[in-house]
Amino acid sequence: MILLKDVTKVYQTKTIETTALNNISLEVPTGEFLSIMGPSGCGKSTLLNIMGMIDEPTSGQVAIQGQAVSDYHTKAVARFRNEKLGFIFQSFHLINELPVIDNVELPLIYRRISGKKRREMAQTALEQVGLKNRMKHFPGQLSGGQKQRVAIARAIVGQPNIILADEPTGNLDSVMGNEIMEILLNLNKELGTTIVMVTHDETMARKTHRLVRLFDGSQVL
C-alpha cells in the first residue's frame, strides 16, 4: 500500500516559488491499478516521483508498505526501489548501447545476482511481454511499442510489488498503446502488482480501477 498524507512539493528558485503539489492525501491499496490524470504541469509526474522515492516532498508524509519513506537512509532507499518498485517512462529510457536482454537485466545487476540467474530472469520477463525473440536486438532496431515492452520487462524483471508508469502509452499510437495497456492490466490481474499510471488518455485511464485527477497541484477528484 502507498500512503500519502498532506504531501506538498514546492520548487524554489532565487526568484520564483512554484507549488507543484498542494496538500495531497492519497491511499493506493495493494493490488490497485490507479491512474492519475490532469493537464500538463499539474504535478502528475511529481506525484509519481514522490511515490517512487525519486523525489522528496517539501512537507507531508509518504509511507510505502507501512514504512515511512523518511525512515530510510540513502542506500536503503536505493535497495527498496530496486526490490519493490518498477518504473516505466514515457520515452522508454532504454540504454541504446546495450542489447535488449542487458537492458532488462539492469535492475538485477544491483542485486548481485549471478549472471546466469540474471539471464534466466530477464528471458522470463521478455517472454511475458512477448519479446523473447528480440533479446539480442538493440533498442534502435525496435519499434516504439517494442521498446516500451522492453521497458515493461525491465520494470517487472525484479518482481516488484509496485509499478509506477509515467505516460507509458504517451509516445505510442493507439494500437501499440492498447497492447501496452493490456500487458499492464494482465500484470495487475495475474500477479496482483500495484500499478500507478500517469496518463493523458481518458480511454486508458477508464480501464484502471480508479482515476485521480489533479489540477494545479491539487487533487480535484
Binding site: I54, T74, F87, F89, I109
Partner: protein, 447 residues
C-alpha cells in the same frame, strides 16, 4: 556487474567517436611521455648494472678544507638604568670562513685515511675525470678513461661480454691493460671480436685489451667512461704527491647492510675530525662529503654551493616533482573537462540506473571503471608509442650511454600511472554524476 560495465564502457566509447579520439590522443600522448620518463628515471636511478648494489653504496667524492676563525664584534644599544638612558655593548662571536677549498680526493689521502672505514665490506678508489683524444685511421675519437683499483669491478658490476677485469696484481704491477666498452672497441677496432688481445694507444702508451663490457643502462656522469685502466698507470704526479689531500680521485664504499651504511658515514665523519691537515695555517677544518647513490646523483645534476647532497636531493625532488605535477595536471584538467561533457550526456541513463536501485557508490564505481578502461586503452596506445620512441632514442644515442628499457618495473609504473590517471581524471565527473538528482536526470531524453 563489471562485465556489464566493461561492455557498456566499450559501447560508450564508440558513441561519440570525436570525443573518444580526442580523449585517447590526450591520454596516450601524456602516458607515452610519462612511460618514457619512468623508463628514464628507472635507467638512471634503478638498480641496474653497473649499479646493482647502489643501495649499499656510500660515495665520498668531495672534500672541503676551510679556514674558520672567530670574529668578535660589538653590538651597541641603549638601555634604561634607574631612569637614565645608558649605552650597553654586547660581544658577538661569529664563526667565519675566510678561505674554502673544495676538490675531489688525492690518492695519498685515499691510501692513508680511507682504507679502514668501519662498516665497509669493500671499497674502491677510482678517478673518472680523464679524457683523451685518440686518432684512428685519421678519425678523432674522444675517450673518457676511468682509472681504478681492482675492487672497482667488485663494486660496480659491469657486464663483461668477453674477457675479464684487471686483477689487483695487475694494478700493483702497473700492467698496461685496458677494459673497453663494446662501443669503444667497435669505434677503435671496427669490431668487438677484433679488439680482444689487441693494443690501443692512450696518452702515448700502449694498452692491451683484456676485456669488453656491455654498454651500461645508465649514464651516470661520475661513472661514464669508454676505457678502464689500473689506477697505477696514471701519471706519477697523481699518485706520488706526498700529503696531497686533493686530487682526481673519489671513493666508494660497499656496506654489508643498511646499518653498515650508517657506520660508514659515521666513521668518515669521525675521521674528518681526527685527520691532521697538512697546512693548518691556511686550513684548520676538514669536511668529507658523503652521500648515498641518490644524493650523489642529485648532486651531479643540482650541485649547490654548500656541496650538500641532502640539499641536492631536496632540489631534485622539488623541481622534478613540480615539473611532473605540472605535466600531469594540465592533461588531467583537460581530461576532466572532456569527461564532464561526456558523462553529462548520460545523465538520463544514470537517472534510470538510480531509479532501478543503483546507489551513488555503484554509479561512482561504474563511471570510474569506464574511465579507467578508457585510460588503459590510451595507456596501451601510449605504451606502444613509448616503445617506438624508446627504440628511436636508444638508436640515436641522444641520451648518451643511457639505454631506456621497458622492464617489468617500468611496466608496473606504467600500469600505476594509467590507474592513477584514470582515477584522478574520472573522480570529479563521476562523483558529480553519482550525486545527480534522479527526477531531474530522467527528464533528459537521451539515454
Amino acid at each position: 556487474m563489471f562485465s556489464n560495465y566493461l561492455k557498456l564502457a566499450i559501447k560508450v566509447l564508440g558513441r561519440r567517436t570525436f570525443f573518444t579520439v580526442i580523449s585517447l590522443f590526450g591520454i596516450s600522448f601524456t602516458l607515452m611521455i610519462l612511460i618514457l620518463l619512468s623508463a628514464y628515471m628507472d635507467a638512471e636511478l634503478g638498480s641496474h648494472q653497473p649499479l646493482s648494489q647502489k643501495d649499499d653504496m656510500i660515495f665520498l667524492n668531495r672534500l672541503m678544507m676551510t679556514n674558520e676563525v672567530i670574529d668578535t664584534s660589538y653590538q651597541i644599544d641603549t638601555v634604561m638604568l634607574d631612569g637614565v638612558e645608558v649605552y650597553d655593548s654586547t660581544e658577538v662571536l661569529d664563526k667565519n670562513r675566510n678561505s674554502v677549498s673544495i676538490s675531489s680526493l688525492g690518492y695519498y689521502f685515499c691510501d692513508n685515511y680511507l682504507r679502514d672505514v668501519a662498516g665497509a665490506d669493500i671499497y674502491s678508489f677510482y678517478s673518472p675525470g680523464f679524457s683523451y683524444d685518440i686518432f684512428v685511421n685519421g678519425k678523432k675519437l674522444s675517450f673518457d678513461v676511468v682509472y681504478s683499483d681492482a675492487d672497482f669491478w667488485n663494486i660496480y658490476d659491469y657486464q663483461f661480454s668477453s674477457g675479464r677485469p684487471y686483477r689487483q696484481q695487475e694494478v700493483d704491477n702497473q700492467s698496461q691493460v685496458v677494459v673497453l666498452t663494446e662501443k669503444a672497441a667497435q669505434d677503435y677496432f671496427g669490431g668487438m671480436d677484433a679488439a680482444m688481445g689487441e693494443f690501443i694507444e692512450i696518452d702515448g702508451k700502449q694498452f692491451e685489451v683484456i676485456g669488453l663490457v656491455k654498454r651500461p643502462s645508465n649514464s651516470k656522469g661520475f661513472l661514464s667512461g669508454q676505457a678502464f685502466m689500473p689506477l697505477t698507470t696514471l701519471k706519477p704526479v697523481y699518485l706520488d704527491d706526498d700529503e696531497n689531500f686533493q686530487g682526481p680521485f673519489e671513493a666508494v664504499f660497499l656496506a654489508g647492510s643498511s646499518t653498515g651504511m650508517k657506520d660508514i658515514e659515521q666513521s668518515i665523519l669521525q675521521k674528518s675530525k681526527q685527520i691532521a691537515l697538512p697546512d693548518p695555517e691556511n686550513y684548520n677544518n676538514l669536511y668529507l662529503i658523503t652521500s648515498d647513490f641518490f644524493g650523489r646523483y642529485a648532486n651531479s645534476i643540482f650541485p649547490n654551493s654548500d656541496n650538500d647532497p641532502e640539499k641536492s636531493k631536496r632540489t631534485f625532488i622539488l623541481i622534478g616533482g613540480g615539473l611532473l605535477l605540472l605535466f600531469i595536471l594540465l592533461p588531467t584538467l583537460n581530461l576532466i573537462n572532456l569527461n564532464v561533457s561526456r558523462i553529462m550526456e548520460r545523465s538520463a541513463e544514470i537517472g534510470v540506473r538510480k531509479a532501478f536501485g543503483a546507489h551513488s557508490g555503484s554509479i561512482l564505481t561504474q563511471l570510474l571503471f569506464e574511465n579507467i578502461v578508457l585510460t588503459f586503452l590510451g595507456g596501451a596506445i601510449g605504451f606502444v608509442l613509448a616503445l617506438i620512441v624508446l627504440h628511436l632514442v636508444n638508436d640515436s644515442n641522444i641520451l648518451g650511454d643511457t639505454i631506456l628499457r621497458v622492464n617489468y618495473r617500468v611496466f608496473g609504473y606504467s600500469l600505476l600511472i594509467c590507474l592513477a590517471f584514470g582515477i584522478i581524471s574520472g573522480l570529479l565527473p563521476a562523483y558529480r554524476m553519482s550525486k545527480i538528482h534522479i527526477a531531474n536526470a530522467i527528464k533528459q531524453t537521451n539515454v
